[in-house]
């Protein structure tokens, strides 16, 4: 189980005191992810390589697992993934409370989810006719692209590329290289459905993007997000604790070490 000390940086300072601006971090990530630096360093950075506590974890299997699972299964174009990194980080940025979406592993989490059953809407009803082709249909039915013929993987690809396209059109830079203000402007327009997309509403794509970002930040680490349970630590959610019977009646707030499913299942 993790200790209750705040995460420390390489100099032994509490991590939140690091002067690592988010935009700066994004820029660095872009470089790293651009292939200039090796994968293990990339993995180390994302899993909190600056975090002293992770030095211990680096020696055991679980961190190795994180490294080898941080490769793209779904996204083939690196540029799509760079846009995803930047967009998720805007939804949940790194700040003094702790890591943002990138450090939490959110982009890789989303990549894995899109490569699986969720990405192809495996358990959803997928029979035609689709409502977007029905003129008289009630368009109020269902959120999140539910009535689109596109599956979630396609919606993500089209959405990320559209965001990149908008950025180049408006600011003459790719989305990941745009400034924070520019990225926020574009994302705000997607959220408000002010950007026209084919096959799905921009607002529906945005709902998916936001939902998936929160999932990646706060899911059990087994899915590749919420790395080192940092999301849970920020929120003071203790995870898969077996029993609260001894705390439930108390007026005091229970500050507990988080427990992952790997810890909980114990095998």
């Amino acid at each position: 189980m993790a200790d209750q000390q705040p995460p420390k940086d390489v100099n032994g300072k509490p991590q939140h005191e690091q002067d690592l601006g988010r935009r700066n971090f994004l820029k660095n990530t872009g470089l790293v992810a651009g292939g200039l630096v090796g994968g293990s360093i990339f993995g180390g950075l994302l899993t909190g390589g600056l975090d002293k506590k992770n030095d211990n974890i680096a020696k055991n299997d679980s961190n190795k697992g994180i490294e080898v699972t941080q490769a793209r299964q779904f996204f083939t174009r690196h540029q799509d993934f760079k846009v995803l990194n930047a967009a998720t980080e805007q939804i949940l940025p790194e700040d003094e409370l702790g890591p943002g979406a990138i450090k939490l592993g959110v982009p890789y989490y989303i990549d894995k989810q899109l490569a699986g059953r969720w990405g192809v809407n495996a358990y959803d009803y997928r029979q035609a006719p689709y409502a977007i082709d029905l003129k008289a249909a009630d368009q109020t039915a269902g959120p999140g692209g539910e009535q689109s013929i596109l599956d979630r993987g396609m919606i993500f690809l089209l959405g990320l590329r559209k965001m990149d396209e908008e950025s180049q059109k408006r600011f003459e830079v790719t989305f990941d290289k745009a400034t924070e203000e520019q990225q926020i402007e574009i994302m705000t327009d997607f959220e408000a459905n002010k950007v026209k997309m084919k096959g799905v509403k921009a607002s529906e794509y945005f709902i998916l993007l936001k939902q998936a970002t929160l999932e990646g930040a706060y899911c059990d680490p087994l899915y590749g997000g919420n790395i080192n349970m940092e999301g849970w630590k920020m929120k003071e959610f203790p995870g898969a604790v077996a029993s609260y019977a001894n705390y439930i009646e108390s007026d005091d707030f229970a500050k507990l070490d988080p427990v992952s499913l790997r810890d909980y299942q114990g095998h």
Partner: protein, 584 residues
């Protein structure tokens, strides 16, 4: 080629609470039973060590796979219905134990008023009080007649609770004391008392202590781990069909549960049901399971679809008001009758919101049913205002005050800050049936086996909107008294329409009960008037929706139905002609 299978005494659709109760009672009485369950084979063992929010709450691991079967939905007869395509909008139980496995465990009885709603309304306010579009009716049974079955269900399901100070009469106390009390619950209780209301603890199926039920099944004491809703219990501490009635039936050696068995229709000759036609979804083979009695114990949608698709009874026609099957669809609707209310944000208090149990909380009944005088109100029926501490999980719970953006820097700060500093109270309200809210078969969309989907049409009536507004206003009053520094209070607009979310799992109607075949599909033993060896049991038989969660009332009617089935197997005929002795 349909392969006929050897006749059994009873064949049942669905292994949830209703199918389980029927199976337990029939097998104890010596009859052999086959349950056809379309979901997978599940045991308690499947739920050990799986406190996984993503898997169960976001990927809906226990819910009906909509690629096989779903519903279509629309707001009025003039619109085209659209299929509900993903589980975000339809959280319907599946697998062995059905919705009884993933329920929260909130275990209310309904009110005497509910069962005689028409007569009691006319008696107190006169006929003119009933809106023109309303199709509300008495159920053909009184609370007092149903009470012994309530008691039987509560004892089977280890219900933990305390006396409701203004509740209906009980023949016995709850089998277990209420669950532990949290600071959150104490705050709600104190505030509602200060306002002159009558708070009491929500009765729950999350057992407050280890308990052995009358069938000899043990339910463990709850440890408040907060994984109830959408989850199977890690500890066997939430009463569910797997650990109670199905276990009891299994012990007799007279029950078989056949999983992956998707029932297509009831085979019949117009007067008598022969059995059930189903597809083994692992092989695609089709079978006919013959039986002396056929029991539809599926969810509302399943029961109604099977009746319509099997051409049993007269389908309801909203234009003429004729016909019964599909009539009086009601529910707890997402943007109207529950999940709306007041959320309070507290600057200086920090709560253990991540601890809890699905059925843990407190409520007031001062506005439930007809407890409030409706003479000067523009709605009938009411709402119970409750605080429930079912446990906030981190993906789903990111509540922020209204003035916070929905993402970005400020969102992150506030969603983290308030995660353990916000409380939500909701007025769960009744919904009364109207002539334009019903179910029929969809003319376009088909399920995976080529059967038509069920089509749901919902129109909110004025009184339903008015009731919701009154309930939210009460939540605001209480949350203020609880001392919230900031509040998000939901706004119910006059033009609020059904949002096509079938999320609450509380839906009713389609094969409603009554005292006469003129206004009902089944009698109060859930036996079809038109086909005496066919029992259609569950929420489908409820002529309207109360402001309470339904499971205990469904359980009570399932016990009554099982009694009717046994009586029918012994004597035949319409079992409701004369009142039965209990445990006949």
């Amino acid at each position: 080629m349909v392969k006929q299978l050897k006749k059994v005494d009873a064949v049942i659709v669905g292994s949830g609470w209703v199918g389980g109760i029927a199976a337990a009672e029939l097998t104890k009485a010596g009859y052999n039973v086959v349950i056809l369950e379309r979901g997978k084979n599940k045991k308690h063992e499947d739920y050990i060590g799986t406190k996984d929010e993503l898997r169960y709450s976001k990927r809906y691991d226990l819910m009906q796979e909509l690629n096989k079967d779903t519903i279509t939905s629309r707001n009025s007869m003039s619109k085209e219905a659209i299929p509900v395509r993903n589980n975000m909008n339809a959280r319907l139980g599946n697998h062995t134990g059905g919705a009884g496995v993933h329920w929260n465990g909130i275990a209310f009885r309904w009110l005497p008023y509910d069962f005689e709603i028409y007569s009691k309304t006319v008696e107190r306010y006169g006929k003119d009080k009933i809106p023109k579009e309303s199709t509300m009716q008495d159920w053909g049974i009184t609370y007092d007649e149903l009470e012994p079955y309530y008691d039987q269900y509560e004892k089977t399901a280890a219900i933990s609770g305390e006396e409701n100070p203004i509740g209906p009469p009980r023949s016995d106390k709850y089998p277990n004391p209420p669950m532990k009390e949290t600071p959150n619950i104490r705050l709600f209780t104190k505030a509602t008392k200060a306002l002159g209301y009558h708070p009491y603890r929500i009765p729950s199926a999350n057992a407050s202590q280890t308990y052995t039920n009358p069938d000899g099944e043990t339910i463990n004491g709850c440890v408040y781990c907060a994984f109830c809703e959408e989850y199977g219990c890690d500890f066997g501490a939430k009463a569910d069909p797997i650990g109670t009635v199905l276990k009891t039936a299994h012990k007799t050696g007279k029950m078989e549960i056949r999983n992956d068995a998707f029932v297509n229709r009831v085979s019949h000759d117009g007067k008598k049901a022969n059995g059930l036609i189903y597809t083994d979804t692992t092989t695609g083979e089709e079978f006919e399971q013959l039986a002396d009695i056929v029991v539809l114990a599926g969810f509302v949608f399943t029961n109604t679809k099977l009746l319509l698709h099997s051409k049993i009874g007269q389908p309801y026609d909203p234009k003429t008001g004729q016909g019964i099957i599909g009539k009086n669809f009601t529910g707890h609707f997402n943007n109207l009758s529950t999940y709306i209310g007041a959320r309070g944000f507290f600057e200086d208090k920090k709560f253990n919101n991540f601890m809890g149990a699905g059925g843990m909380g407190a409520t007031i009944d001062d506005f439930s049913g007809d407890n409030e005088d409706h003479t000067n109100l523009d709605f009938l029926h009411g709402y119970e205002v409750h605080y429930s501490q079912l446990g906030s999980r981190p993906i789903a719970n990111n509540a922020v005050p209204y003035d916070t953006p929905g993402w970005g820097k400020e969102f992150k700060k506030n969603s983290i800050k308030y995660y353990n500093r916000n409380l939500f109270i909701t007025p769960q309200s009744g919904f009364l049936p109207n002539k334009n809210t019903y179910m029929d078969l969809d003319p376009i969309y088909k399920d995976a086996l080529g059967n038509p989907l069920l089509r749901v049409t919902v129109e909110y009536a004025k009184q339903d909107i008015a009731r919701a507004k009154a309930g939210v206003a009460r939540c605001e009053e209480i949350m203020k008294e609880m001392g919230a520094d900031k509040m998000n209070v939901d706004v119910v607009k006059d033009d609020t329409v059904f949002d096509h979310k079938f999320y609450t799992d509380h839906f009713f109607g389609g094969a409603i009960m009554g005292a006469s075949p003129k206004n009902s599909a089944v009698n109060t033993y859930s036996q079809m008037w038109d086909m005496e060896n066919l029992f259609v049991v569950g929420g489908s038989s409820f002529p309207h929706n109360s402001n309470y969660n339904p499971t205990v009332t469904i359980g009570a009617f399932a016990y009554r139905a099982a009694e009717g089935m046994i009586k029918f197997l012994k004597e035949g005929g319409n079992v409701a002609v004369k009142p039965l002795e209990k445990n006949a």
